[in-house]
Amino acid sequence: MTDPRNSACGDFREDLPLLAVGKLHGEEKEALERHIAGCPACQADLQSHRRVLETVRKESGPEVPLDSTTVLNNLRKLVAEEARERAKPAVQSPAPPREKPRTPWTNLIVAVLLVTGLILLATNYQRFLPVAPPPPPPTNPADLTIAKLQPVSGESEPHAVSAGETRKPGPNAELARYAQGLDVLLDPATQATFTSATKLDLLSGRAAVYVPAAEHPDFEVHTATGAVRAKGTLATRYVAVLAKGRLSVAVLEGSVDLVSADGHTLLELNANEQSYVEGQGFPAKPEPAAPDAFSWVNFASNAGLKLTLRAVPGLKPRVIVRLENTGTQKVRISEFHPLHANYWLESRRKLEKSFAATKLDPIKLRRTTPGVDPDEREASGAELELEPGQGYEIEGFFRPMEAKKGEFVVAADYNRYGEQRPVLGGWGGFLRSEEIEITWQP
C-alpha cells in the first residue's frame, strides 16, 4: 500500500486507479509518473490496482459477444416504423417545401436588401406606423389553451386547459398533455393551477411529470415550499408530492433540480433517488426511491385495459395472450407494442416463497374486433389504437417450466425500461394478477 508517511503519496493516491485503467492523461499523468519513479510504495500500489482492475475488466464482460446483429435488425424495423409514424402528420398538413441551400451570392443579396429595408424603415418609420388601432388581445379560449386534459379512465371528453386554470380531478386521475409530448398526470386528490405552458403550481397532492428529451427545459412544478425543474438533455420522469408543507420528489428517469422558493438550486436528484424539503430548510439527503413511489401512477394508468390468457392444448401447448380495451373510450397505445411486452407466467405455492417463472416467446399477433374475424398481421403491425372492445391477441409459447396446474399467477410487464409515456401505463407497472383471467381449455 501507499506509504502513509510520505505526504506526497496522499496527493496522488486517488490518481493511481485511473492510471491503472489508462484514464489519466496530460500533466496529471506526467506528475504522477514522476512521483512513482521515486516512490516504491506507490509503484507497488499501482501494480496492485492494475492487477485487480485488469482481472475485473477481463472477467466482468460478456463471455460471448452480445447478438448485436439481431439488435440492429430490430432497430431497422423500429426506425422504419418510426419514420412511417413521423410521415403521417405530413400527409394531413404538408410540410413547407425545404429551403434551397443559399449560395454566397444569395446571402449577399439578402444582406443588401435587409440593410436597404432597415435604412428605409429608419428614415420613413412614420409611414409604417399602423393606421388602425392594434388588434385586441386574443379572446378565443383556444388561443389560451396550454394543454389537453384527459381523464385516465371514464367517459369524459378531453378538456382544453387554459393558462391560469385550477384543476382538482374527480374520481379519476387526469392526464394533461402539453405540446411536444410533455405530460403531467394528476392524482385524484390533487389540486393544481396550470399557470403557464412552462409552470404548474402544485397546491396539494401528487403530480407525475414526463419531460421529453431536450424539450421544455424550463418546465417546473412550483409549490410554496420549493420547485422541481427537469435538467439535462435526457428525458425526465419524476413524481412531486406536496403534503403538509413538505415537497417530496422521487425521480424515475433523468435528473431534476430541487429549487428553493426564492429560486436557488438546493439539490440535484438523479434517477431512482428521492428527497424532500419543508419550510425554509435544506432538503433531506437523497436516498433510494421507495419501491412504491410510482405505484399510484401505474394504478391510475392501467385502467381500462385487461389481460387474459388462454392455453391451447396440443403437442406443444400454445398460449394466447389477449390485451383488450374494456373501457368505453379509444385507447391509443404509444411507444408500446403488444409484442414487445414481457408476459410472465409464474407458479407460486401458497405460503411459500419458492416460485418459478417462465416467459412467453411470441410468434403471432392478431388484432381482434368483436364480431369480426381476427385480423392476422405481421409481428411489426403498426396500428396501435384500440377501440372499446378491441384488442390484440399474441400467440406464442411459454418456455418450459415445472409447475402444477392451479398454482399460477400471471403478470404482463410492459415496462420497456423507462421508454413509456403514461398514455397507457407503462411507468413500470404490472397488470396485476387480480386483473387477469386464465382459462384453461380442456
Binding site: 486507479p17 460478456p62 439488435v71 426506425v79 438533455t233 431512482n272
Partner: protein
C-alpha cells in the same frame, strides 16, 4: 477516445433521417455500450434489450439533442439510465416475488455459493467460473455510484473527464469514488488473483 467530430457529423445526418448514418453510429458504439450494459445487468437478454432501447432513444432524441456535450457522453448517459432502470426493474421484480430465480438465466446464481465460500477463504487463487463469479460478487457489493464509475472506467474510449460529464459529477468526486471502488475490489479480490 471516440471521434466527436465524426460522431457529430453522423448525428447531423441522423436528424435528416439518414439510416445509414444511424447504423454507422451504432457500429461505432455497439461494442463498448453493449459491454457496459452487460456489466451493469449480467443478463444477456436484458442487455441486448437495453442496447436496442438506447439506440432507439438516440434515434428519437437526435432532432432535439442540443449538442452541448460529446456524442459519446450523450450515448453513455442514455445507456447508464437504461441500465439503472433495468437493474431497478429486476430488483423490484425480485422483491415482488421474494426470490432471485430470474437471475438464473445467465447461471450467475448457480455458482454464487462456491464463490462466496471462496471469498471467505483467506488466500486462495481462483480460476475460470469461480473467479468470474467472485469478480461479479465484488462488483455487486460496491455502492451503486461506485460500481457505475468503475464500469464506465472499464469502457474503452471514455476519459475520466467524460465519465464525470456522463454522471454530471465533479472530477474530484469521480476520482475519490473510483479510488474507493478500486480499494474495495482489491480487498476482496487480490488474494484470489494469481501473481
Amino acid at each position: 477516445m471516440f471521434d466527436d467530430v465524426a460522431d457529430r457529423a453522423l448525428m447531423a445526418r441522423i436528424v435528416q433521417g439518414d439510416t445509414a448514418a444511424f447504423e454507422r453510429l451504432y457500429a461505432n458504439y455497439e461494442k463498448p455500450v453493449g459491454a457496459f450494459l452487460f456489466r451493469m445487468t449480467y443478463d444477456r437478454t436484458l442487455s441486448e434489450d437495453c442496447l436496442q432501447e438506447v439506440f432507439m432513444r438516440v434515434w428519437k432524441a437526435a432532432p432535439t439533442w442540443r449538442g452541448d456535450c460529446r456524442v459519446s457522453t450523450f450515448i453513455f448517459q442514455v445507456a447508464k439510465n437504461y441500465a439503472l432502470n433495468a437493474r431497478d426493474k429486476v430488483r423490484r421484480e425480485q422483491a415482488r416475488t421474494g426470490d432471485g430465480s430470474r437471475e438464473a438465466e445467465e447461471g450467475s446464481c448457480a455458482t454464487s455459493e462456491p464463490a462466496a465460500a471462496a471469498d471467505a477463504a483467506p488466500s486462495h487463487a481462483l480460476e475460470g467460473a469461480e473467479l468470474r463469479q467472485a469478480v461479479r460478487d465484488a462488483l455487486e457489493a460496491l455502492p451503486e455510484e461506485q460500481r457505475v464509475i468503475m464500469l464506465l472506467a472499464q469502457t474503452d474510449g471514455l476519459t475520466y473527464r467524460e465519465i464525470a460529464d456522463i454522471l454530471q459529477m465533479p472530477l474530484g468526486t469521480v476520482k475519490s469514488r473510483m479510488a474507493a471502488a478500486s480499494d474495495a475490489l482489491r480487498r476482496r479480490l487480490e488474494r484470489h488473483i494469481k501473481e
